[in-house]
Structures are given as C-alpha cells and as structure tokens.
Symmetry: C2
Subunit: 803 residues, 2 copies
C-alpha cells in the first residue's frame, strides 16, 4: 500500500498556522479574482455593485495549487533550494497570481498593482477582463513558463527546464485532467533521460482534483494501489498526501510539508550519489534512480461552497468554474459568497491598507528565490550568445555551380559537432529528435557528444551514454516539450524531425508561437532564444515510405501564426544550410523552421555566395539564367527548396539549349517571408526591391517545395501576382522514385519548360519543338521507371551549360 | 515477478512443427519482398540479376509480427474466435502481406497475384516499387485498418474497433517504438471505457523488439518488474513471452500458444461474468476487469543474419531496415543472403509451383475468419445507413430572420439524442469528445444515453454509466483514434471538439484523409462512413480563455489535403446546423468538418429555407439585401460562419439605413468548397453559377470565420477575385468581449461598412457620413468596453429593417 504521510511530520504548530494563513490568503485572493471589482478587503458588506459584470474564471483547481505554492515557499525558505514551479492544471492563473502578488513579485513587475488594497483590486479587475489576464498562466504570470491553456505539456516543460540546470528543482504540478492527454502520459518516462549529474531535479506533484469539467478523471478513480503501481512503473517513488473536506488544515499542512521534506532529502541523496560516487553501471537491469513524486489528492474547489441550492459543489465537477453564479442578482447567493470569502478571515491576513500581515509572509522566500522572481522563469535574463563556430571549415568547395554534391544535413552535422564541443562546459545547447539524428544524416554530432540515456546500456548500443546532449525519444511531443522548456529557461536548441511528422506538434508549435508573441507584450519578459526546427526527410524523398510521409503543411501552419515570431527558410544546398543554421541560432523570440534535405544534392553556392544570398533572403542567380543586362527577362524561373531548385536549374539548362533566344532569369528564395508584403511580415521586401527581382509583368514560374497556394498567398499584393504560376506538392504522393514524385506533382524540369512555353508571349512556332521535346523526355522516363523500378540516370542530373 | 509462459504449455509437437512451418514461410516471404525480383523459390542459385535494383524495406519488425500472425491463425482456427489484427509497429507491411498471401486472402483480392510462384513474385516486385505497396500496412494490405506510417495509434484504433463489436477480438500489436509516443501511452488507459457487455475485447501484444532505428526502446530497457508494474498500473494482467536468438523454435511456439490460450480463456471469463452475472457494482474502488495482454520479447530481425562483416545484426538496431546491403554488388553478401533465405527451407514450405504445402496451411482458418478477409477490416462491407431522425421536431421556428436566437449545438443535441435512441439496439453510432459534451451544449444526448465508464462511480457523478455511448476522455488523440477505429470497422460517429484543439489531431486527421484517399484506389475496399468533426467553442467566443484558444487553422489544414475526401461546412444558425449534421452523417469516404457555435446566435432560416440553402451550399439572401431585380448589385456582402454572418447582416442593416441607394447583395456560404473551382474540388461551383452569385466585377466584402487567405485561395480562379476583400481572424486575439474580438480583427459591422464605402466606386460624398458614423460607433463601443468590461448592448444585436 502507498505510504500516507498525514500523521508523520513534526511540523511545529505555529509554523503550520503561518502556512495556513498563507494558504488562506492564496484562496482568498484566488476567489476574489473571479468575483470582485470593488471592496477588495470586504471592509464593508458585499453589495451587488462590488461584483464583476461577468463572472469568468475557474475556482476548482485553485485551492490545490495554492497549497503547493504555500509549501514550495516553505521548502525554498527552509533549504534555500532554487525552485521553479510549473502549473499544469488548466485555468490555474488565479492561484499563481495570488502567490506572486503575496510575495511581492507581481507588484515589482507590475508597478501599478502594488502590494496593498489598491494593487489587490487592480489584480482582481485585470483578471479575465477585456485585454486583461486570461484564466491560464499566460506570460503575464510571474514565474511561469507554461500557459496551461492547451493541456498536457507541464511535465515535458519541467524536464526541459531541468536539463543542464544541476542546482534547480522544478516542481511540476500535473493536473489529473491533463494527465489523460497523450503528451503528458508519455512525459512520465522522461526520467529515462534525466542525468542526475548535470541536470536538475523534477518533482512532479500529481494533483488528483477528482473531476474535469464534467467527468471524473482516470487517475483519481483508479484504486490507489493501481495508481501506485503505475507510477512506480513509470520509475517514480510516489508519496501520497490526501486531504478531504473535513481534514483539519494543520493536518494537511503537516502531510504536505512532510512529503516535500522527504522528497527533497531523497533528491539530494540521488544527486549526491551520482555526483560524488562511482558512475552508474552499464548493467542492463539498470540502477537508475527512482525519483520521488507527490500524489496530492484534495477535493475540487476545496474550502469553497460545499453546497449550492442543495447540490453538492465542493469536491465535485460543479466546482470547476464559478461555483456560485448569479451573485449580483440573487441576494441570498451574494450572502453565501460573502460568507465564503469571509471564511478565510481576511482581516487576519491583511492590514487595513491591504498589505499582507507578517505571519502570512513568514514562509515567503527572499529576492530571486521567490517563485515569481526566478530568473529561470524569465529565461532571457540568463541567455548567452552561443559560441557559434566559424563556417569555413565545414563549407563545401564549389568550383562551379552543380559540379559537386553533398548531403546538406551531413555537412551541418559537422558544424553542430563543433558547437556541441564548444558548449561542453556551458551546456546550453542541445539537439532533440525522435530517434533519427543518424538517419537524418546529422550523426556528425556524435563526434562531440552522445545520446543521453539513464536506463541500461548494452554492448550493441552506439553513441549512447549517461551525459549525452542529444536527446532522442520516439515522441515528437516530448522533443518539442523538452525544447520549449529548455529555451524558455534561457538555453538554445534544435529539433530535427521528419518533415511530415512535425505536424504532430503543430498545435504545440502554435501555442509556443502564441506564448512568445504574448510575452513580447509583457514589459518585464526578456527575449529568449529562437525555437529551431530542422525539417528533413522531406516530402520529395519518401521513396519507400510513400504518401503517409509526404506533408509539407507545417510551413503553412506556422506561417498562419504571428508574423513577428515565425520565420521559414528553405536553403537549396549545403552551404546555404550552414549559413541559415548559423543565423537561426542567433535569433531571439522567434520560431524558425528550416527545411533541408538529407539526400545528396548539388552544391550551387560557395560559402561567400551563400552568405550573401542568405543575407538577402532571395536573389537572382545570374549564372543560371540567360537574361541580358539592362532589360527585364522574358520569363522568371523562381524556386524555393532543394528539389525545386534542382528542377528549376535543370529547366533553365534545357531552355538555354532548346530556346536560346528566350531571356530567362533564375531566382532562388531562401527566406520565404521575403515574398510577403512588408506590412504583413517584418522580412517582407519592399515593392521596389521585389519588382526589381521578379519584374512587374513577366511570367513567373515558381517551383516551390510545399503546397503551391502558400506562395500565392505571400505574393498576393505584388504587381506581378497575376503572372505568377506556382508548382509544388499537390498531395499527389506515392511510394515511388524521386523523379517520378516531381513528375506526379508537375514540378519536374520538363513541366517547367512547358510552363515557360505556355506562358511566355511571342515565342511563336520555335517553342513547339521545345514543348514536344519536354513531353517526349518525360514519357521516356515514365516508361523507364515502369520497367526498371528506378529513375533514368540521364534525367536526374544537372549539366552545367551556363556562363 | 512476471509469470513466464515458456515451459508451461502442452502444445503437441506436430502442431508446433506446423506452426513453425507457417512462421518460416512468413519470414521467407517477408525477407524476399525486400530483395527479390526473380527466382522466388530459390529454384536456382541466387544471382545478382535476381536482386531488386534498390533495396527498400524493413526487416527488423517482421519476424515478431510473423509469429503473432501464425499464432492468431491458430487461435482463430482452434476457437473459431472472430479476430482482427492491428499491426502497430512501423514498416510491418511485409509480414502482414506474407500472412494474407499465405492464407489466400491476398490472391482473392488481387487476382493478378495468385497463390503460386507467379503471384509470389508479383508480391515481391510490387513491394516498395514505384507506385506499388509502401512498407507500411497501407490500405492495400488485406485485413488492415491502420497504416502504421505515423506511429502511435494502434491501440486507440483497436479500442475503436472493439466498441460495440461484442463478439470480436482485436489483437493490437504495439511496437515498443510507437509505445514511446504520447497517443499510445494514453491509449493503455482505454480499458477504462471498454464495456465487457456490449464491446468486444482488445488483446494488446506489446512487442519488445528492443531497438528503434538507432536507439534502444524505453519499455524494452526497463527492468521487467518495472514494466510489469507499469502495465498492471495501466489495468492489464501481462503475460510475458520471451525468446532469444537461441530459443528453440518449438519452445517459442509453445510459449506463444500458451499465452494466447490463457488470454482467450481469461477474456471469456471476463465477458461471461459481465454478460451473465450481476452488473458491475458502483463501488469507488472499482471491480472493473483487468484484461490480459501479452508482452512478447524477441530479438529485432530474429532469424535474420546474426552478423555482417563482424558486426552483430540480429537483435540490434542494425536489423531495422535492410540487414544485408550491397548484395547485388558483393558476391559474398549475395551468398550470405542466399544462406539466410534458404535457412527457412523454402522447399519444405512450397511445392514446385510455389503453392504453400498443406502443413504450412494447417493453422490457417477458413473464409472470413482469415485475418486478411475479416469483414470488419473492410468496414464498408458492414456499414448500414443510419436511422436519421426527421428534423422537423428539432427545427427552431423562424417567424422572420433574426427575430429569435438559439444555441445551435444545443438544438443539435436534441436531434443527436433521438439518433442515440434509434441506434440503441444497433449500437452503430457514438459521440466522442474531450470532457466537453455538456460544455459544448450537446448535453441533450444524455436524455438518450450516458457517458461510458468502467471505473468507480460516485453519487456526485452525472450521466455516467457502464453502457453509455458518449465517450469522453481528455485526450483529443484518443477521441480521434477511437472514432477512426469505429468508422473504419463500419460504424458511424461524431467528434465534438473545441475548435482550437482540433489542431492537436491535425496530423492524425491528415493520416486518416490519406488513408481514405488511398483506400478509394483499392478496388476491394468498400466506402466507409464519413469521419465527422463538430468544431465548436470557436475562435470568436473565447471570452476568458483568450489567445491560446483561438485558432481556426484546422480548416486550412484539412483543406490542404485530398479534395475527394475533405468537406468543410460553416452553418450560420441552428436550422442550417441540423441540415448539415443530417447530411454529413449520410456521407461516405469523407472527412467532414462542421464549425458551429455553442453560444446563442440569431435564427436566420426556417427549416425549409435551411434545407434549400444547404442543398445549394451557398446562396443569396435576398431578404437581407437591397438589390434591385435584374441588375447586378453595387456591392456583395458575403459571409461564412455564425459570427461573420451576424456582423454581415448587421452591416447590411446599417447600409440600408445609412446608404439606402446602394444596392447590396448578401451571400451566405455554408459549404466553403463551393467557392473552389470545380477542377479543384468536387463541390466547386461552375464559373457560370459562381458569377451569377458573386458577380464578375462588383466589390465583394467577405466576412469569413477563419484565416482570410483561405477564401482567397479557394476563389483564386474566379473572375471576381480581384474585387474580393476578405475579413477574418487575423491572429489578433485576447481575453476580451465577443464584439471587441471582431473589432480587433476588423470583421465588425462597422469595419464592413467602411469596406463597402472604400471599395464601391461612385458613392461620392454621401458615403462620407456613413463612414464617419461607423467609426464613431466603433469608438463609442471601445470606450464602453474599457469602462464596463462588457459589450455595449446596442451594438451586439441585429435589428430587422429589411424586406
């Protein structure tokens, strides 16, 4: 049976009473945020005009979160333990705000809400008001890095925060609602990657509140033995703290203090052993530590109204949101609200001016140890510029465009290895991915570090070790959640994924973008490092995976979100990928999506050219076209992405041969947002610059990596838009050869030639032959693939015929 | 310690030998799919020209899957147990194809691949070839409903298939790779919802293959006691079957047969007790059954090459894909491949013509009991038209447009309740959602059924019971996975979600769309019911949730996928929602996204009008405009979605008052794909029809529910496109009032009036006053919200001023 901690602890009565005063203040402030627009101290009887016009907010989770806040205060104060809290349950903002206001953090960061009656009222009024603070722990909430709007990421964020923060304790309060989500369920296993030597500790507090909006929760309705078995199976030592509506508060405080004390002692022992003792053995059975966690079972809406109109509320789903509605209209309800609020005895908590009394603040730690003032929770305060390597040693030589070829991600892997080495001591850079670092040809990093792993090691493992900074788990949700937690606490990282499977975390990405966008509007938030995706194994090269692995839609998804945050790069070759990677690792408050192939691809630009090209974001490749100086070309061939670039350059070569009189301009786009009007994205080119590249009226045949309409959308306001034809991935995928893929989606070189013939006016009869030659070649290839099962070698290369 | 089953079973030796022959045939056929393009029976020495030009495929998971296939055959044959298999591990197609070919299902469905040498070779050649069969269990694979490309959904699919299939056993093979994903981790808990009376059984087989592409797996590296604790915590009784490279095959077969026998006996006991004994008690401690499961630990690439070039392969990550590469080029490798393939003794498995020998087929069941011929795995064979209710009793009366208002989802709830009642016996309709049926105002269904739940019940629970057909779990992944499994096996359902959080399953939705699209190209697949989403609690009404809950991008996401499958509907009021719901529940091979509000909204159309409007998909609302018959209007106000419709009609009213001479046409769009050109979506209007509604050259001000560029994209090829201005959600969200939300995103009635003034030529000075009046009203409202925290009542209604 799980060990209950209720009666064990020698917490002195006066300390328990002080903790209880703090907790009552937490509950009072939480409840008042839902209800009051005046009379914050209840210094007069409650009248309808003191009540907000609309009651919006959630009470149910607050008392439990308040209890955790109170006891984290005690823990921090008593042991001087640097601690960060992550509030997982949904709608927990009132409790986190109450704690930050009580300890003074809120007022220091929000000077118009001082720690007195006026500031208290300001807090109450701002909560859930138009343009105010949402009911989630949005970036406005001091000490928070997790919004808690879309549930399920608290534990992943906590582990991300703990990596490479050896002195930090991250307390992750996990709601039993969010615990039903997939990402949260998978996150328990994250202890398999937590290195007790270099990482901090995560202390999960599973809050069994019992109900969600309407339903009981899975973990709360399990027999306790079954829950204990589950949590032990997840690798934890659970400590159970249970309190019912009739538990005397001091008993609850003793249990909670005891559990936290016990957990901290156990964490210390694990860390001491790992840091001073012999290293963990490699035994398959594993002697990895089983970290403590707390299971806190309390009634939903604890200490709130027990019954309303004869219906039970405390401890039920009815306590989820506003437990007492209609208080403005119904005098009896108003009296019940007043009785409830006065049950916390506010006059014992605050002085006449609304300042918290000393006993209430006895447990509150000082300065940056306060939960709301933790530097890690405002990660930009700790962020340092990465020691990025010189690119020269990794750049591939390019004697002339397309003469050689490399695998771009493999080239990047070398540079990342040096970055790993350079951050060996600082440990502020990590690579995350689902078991694919090597498969994505980034294995070069294993020259400098290993994959981290705390379970058993076998002789057949490769590049697996206790302290590695490449974290691989077959869960894109975990990769994303860890990286978010890591960058939100002031560090840097890169998440490399199969392109199609980035869609698994599209919702998480949107939440992070929204978080960063909102945080930019919070004056005291400091800029954090960009969250970087490398999307590889992309749609065009799924030779045997086929249709289910072909989806370039993540680009569209992120580009529908806040343009002040989102950037998308499509480097066409190895050297441009190096430059893009160097750039994104320097950015702040961004989400960067880099799409690059892992298969061998022609080298077009040497490092110097690549640098210049990336600095512009897009540009004319004069050497690839046939235009004459001083006049607009007859047609523009534009491209973005490695495969489209190859097909476009091949089409330009064919045109040079077949239609030498046609003046062709070749444009390559690395930073797709350069296409956008500057009023819609900060990277947007001015119309003048744009027209100088794309012309105002010539046909533009654009071969694009993803869904074609994205380019239309971005270029929508440009003069040349009516002349724009975009080829791209049109959801016509299959298990097939690389060249057949571009043919199926009509983005192959021959189709591009046909587009030029069809859209360029004045070509006359000389174009008929070129069109026929293109169609013949495509048909020849089709027959070859059908017969041989592989691409016809002659059609997949690129032959230098240019200047 | 977990109980090992290796030595317990009295499987007769001759039966074990027959099973082993089947398993060897499975392995032979699996391996040959990767390698051979000729010489399928090895009737001559292997030569380079017998080898495929590119070796694409995955061997590692096949031997384990083959073992399960063999033993499911035995189980089915021995007990006559209707069984369906779900192959969770990635890249498992070769094994599933081998099983289907051996049992004859493959040849019956694919007549050009008969069960002889010619058909065998055809199978080998089709595998991983251009346009052929992918390495996942794509729809081409008989007996499959799960692609296994994007990992993590096998167990959710299995539960979905088992719901309301009381005589079915669904064996879900869970890969230890996919087990690391969030959705899979959450899926273990699905036994909390499996009703042993009305549902079938799920038998998970956790296949501990040991490695993923490069890494060990979490569950395989846990100490076995910890794994057992985890699985018991998940509510299962695990049976462990372990075999190493040196386990004699007959021992492994005995263990496997014993485990399956034991599991089936235990399942029968659970079902018998539930079906004939007293109902489960409501005790909080719960006496819900703990279902059996099998943990199958075998080496990755078992029975394949032990070593290659001195490196261990069998049992390591090196066995993941093609264990022996370069066989075409390297004679020594070719000889090693031949030795490996001959180790299965093909001459003992097939006769000279390539037909499997009788002993190999001894374990194979007959007819529709064969795994590859299960009707449930080709669900359209079992699908029946739903007994959809008459809509009249649920329709709201509409005396004149906008006179009354209703909550559309609440109205729908009544109709769904009748559908629940009408399917009480058939049990082929279910509602899925994350704890929000009541919160989304669909609680009417609880008149007819309950929420299903197998754990403890408490007196404070409402609408919770053992046999309910509303399934609520706070995991959109589970809701989606269950619904997919349910419709793929021939039933019907609806998934109601907060609009923003549908993005959580955008990747799953894409996979389902791709599956349905691919299945349409498989001749023997029968059409299945549409997969229906009801997106409510939408972007415009997140008054206290704010920015993190505002995301209409799911529409864009699905509309980027196969247009033959995807439909999106935006009913503007209660009666149109009824009509749309009635429609989508009749569709086949579709994914339908219905966006509808849960907040009170004006009733515009009576049932008859709504039916006609939905049949057209879009149409002119003459009563709302001011145009004269016989001439094009001066301006078109178009709208899609409930909030845009309200603002558009309000703008039309204002224009009637302020600019009575301007001829305004109001168009409402329900089926957004009607906007699309008919070459791009089957619902697209012809240009003639489109131009008749939208004109070819008048300004069109389109108020749209989601991101504005979607409408531009859909209407891109229309004559009027240059005149189109779209207002919609521009990612400018916050915690705020409903009207402030439309103002922030410039979709409010006053902004629409301004758009009309700015874009309609020839209005002259008379428009100046209207523009000023609009700006004044918006400013007045802004001040009011700032002061009062709620919307100004005068600006949020709609006043009938029309014909």
């Amino acid at each position: 049976m799980p060990e209950h901690q209720l009666e064990h602890q020698p917490l002195p009565e006066h300390e328990a009473a002080q903790l209880d005063a703090h907790w009552r203040a937490m509950n009072y402030l939480s409840a008042c945020q839902l209800y009051l627009r005046a009379n914050p101290l209840l210094s007069e009887p409650l009248r309808p005009e003191h009540i907000k016009p609309r009651l919006l907010g959630h009470w149910g989770t607050c008392p439990g979160l308040g209890l955790v806040y109170t006891h984290l205060n005690r823990l921090i104060g008593r042991y001087g333990q640097r601690t960060m809290a992550i509030w997982g349950p949904g709608h927990g903002a009132p409790a986190a705000l109450a704690g930050a206001w009580l300890e003074g953090s809120y007022s220091e960061l929000t000077p118009d809400a001082p720690r007195d009656a006026e500031g208290m009222l300001r807090l109450f009024r701002d909560f859930s008001q138009p343009g105010g603070i949402p009911s989630h722990t949005a970036p406005d909430v001091p000490g928070s890095i997790q919004e808690g709007g879309e549930l399920g990421y608290s534990l992943a964020h906590a582990y991300g925060a703990a990596f490479d923060n050896p002195d930090l304790l991250v307390c992750a309060v996990v709601g039993d609602g969010e615990a039903e989500t997939g990402p949260l369920a998978a996150s328990w296993h994250a202890n398999m990657w937590l290195d007790p030597v270099h990482d901090g500790a995560v202390l999960p507090v599973l809050h069994l509140n019992g109900y969600k909006i309407a339903n009981p929760t899975v973990l709360a309705r399990m027999p306790e033995e079954e829950l204990a078995s589950l949590l032990r199976g997840y690798g934890y030592d659970p400590l159970f703290v249970t309190a019912g509506p009739d538990t005397p508060p001091l008993t609850a405080h003793r249990a909670m203090a005891g559990a936290f004390d016990h957990a901290l002692v156990r964490i210390g022992a694990i860390q001491d052993k790992a840091r001073s003792g012999p290293p963990l053995t490699d035994a398959a059975s594993g002697d990895r530590p089983h970290w403590p966690m707390v299971v806190l079972r309390t009634p939903k809406g604890w200490s709130g109204p027990r019954e309303v109109d004869g219906q039970p509320v405390e401890g039920t789903w009815r306590a989820h949101q506003v437990p007492l509605a209609g208080v403005k209209e119904d005098p009896e309800r108003l009296r019940q609200l007043e009785r409830w609020l006065r049950s916390y005895r506010p006059q014992e908590l605050f002085d006449g001016a609304g300042r918290p009394l000393p006993a209430v603040l006895e447990c509150v730690p000082e300065g940056e140890l306060r939960l709301g003032s933790m530097p890690e929770a405002n990660g930009g305060r700790l962020l340092r510029q990465l020691p990025l390597p010189e690119l020269e040693p990794y750049a591939v030589p390019v004697e002339r465009p397309g003469a050689g070829s490399h695998e771009p991600t493999r080239v990047l892997g070398g540079m990342l290895a040096e970055l790993m080495s350079a951050t060996e001591e600082r440990r502020d850079f990590r690579l995350f991915g689902p078991d694919e670092t090597d498969s994505n040809h980034l294995g070069g990093v294993f020259e400098a570090t290993e994959r981290g792993w705390q379970a058993g090691l076998e002789p057949t493992d490769e590049h697996l070790g206790r302290h590695g900074r490449v974290l691989e788990v077959l869960s894109e949700h975990l990769c994303q959640g860890w990286l978010e937690g890591y960058v939100l606490t002031g560090r840097n990282g890169l998440f490399a994924s199969y392109e199609a499977f980035a869609n698994l975390v599209s919702s998480m990405a949107a939440q992070h973008i929204k978080w960063v966008h909102s945080a930019r509007e919070v004056p005291w938030r400091r800029p954090i490092a960009g969250l970087n995706y490398l999307l590889t194994s992309h749609a065009w090269r799924q030779d045997h995976n086929g249709f289910s692995h072909q989806d370039p839609g993540f680009i569209d998804h992120v580009l529908s979100k806040s343009p002040d945050v989102v950037r998308v790069y499509l480097p066409p070759d190895a050297n441009t990928l190096l430059c893009v990677a160097d750039h994104v690792l320097r950015t702040r408050d961004t989400v960067n999506v880099v799409v690059a192939g892992k298969q061998s691809c022609f080298d077009w630009l040497d490092l110097e050219q690549a640098r210049a090209h990336c600095a512009r974001g897009l540009g004319v490749w004069e050497w690839a076209g046939t235009e004459r100086t001083g006049a607009d070309p007859d047609v523009v061939l534009a491209c973005a992405g490695d495969v489209p670039t190859q097909e476009t350059l091949a089409a330009a070569s064919l045109l040079r041969e077949w239609l030498p009189d046609v003046a062709v301009r070749v444009v390559n786009v690395v930073d797709i947002s350069r296409m956008t009007h500057p009023t819609e994205h900060p990277h947007g080119l001015s119309d003048t610059e744009f027209d100088a590249v794309f012309t105002r009226d010539r046909p533009v045949i654009f071969a694009y990596h993803g869904y074609p309409w994205l380019v239309h959308r971005l270029a929508y306001r440009r003069a040349v838009h009516e002349q724009l034809a975009v080829r791209g991935y049109r959801e016509l995928g299959s298990t097939t050869t690389p060249f057949d893929m571009v043919v199926r989606n009509r983005m192959d070189r021959y189709s591009l030639v046909e587009d030029v013939v069809d859209r360029t006016p004045g070509l006359g009869s000389r174009a008929v032959g070129a069109r026929q030659a293109a169609a013949d070649m495509r048909e020849r290839h089709h027959r070859y693939v059908h017969e041989h099962g592989v691409d016809m070698p002659e059609v997949t290369g690129w032959r230098w015929t240019g200047r």
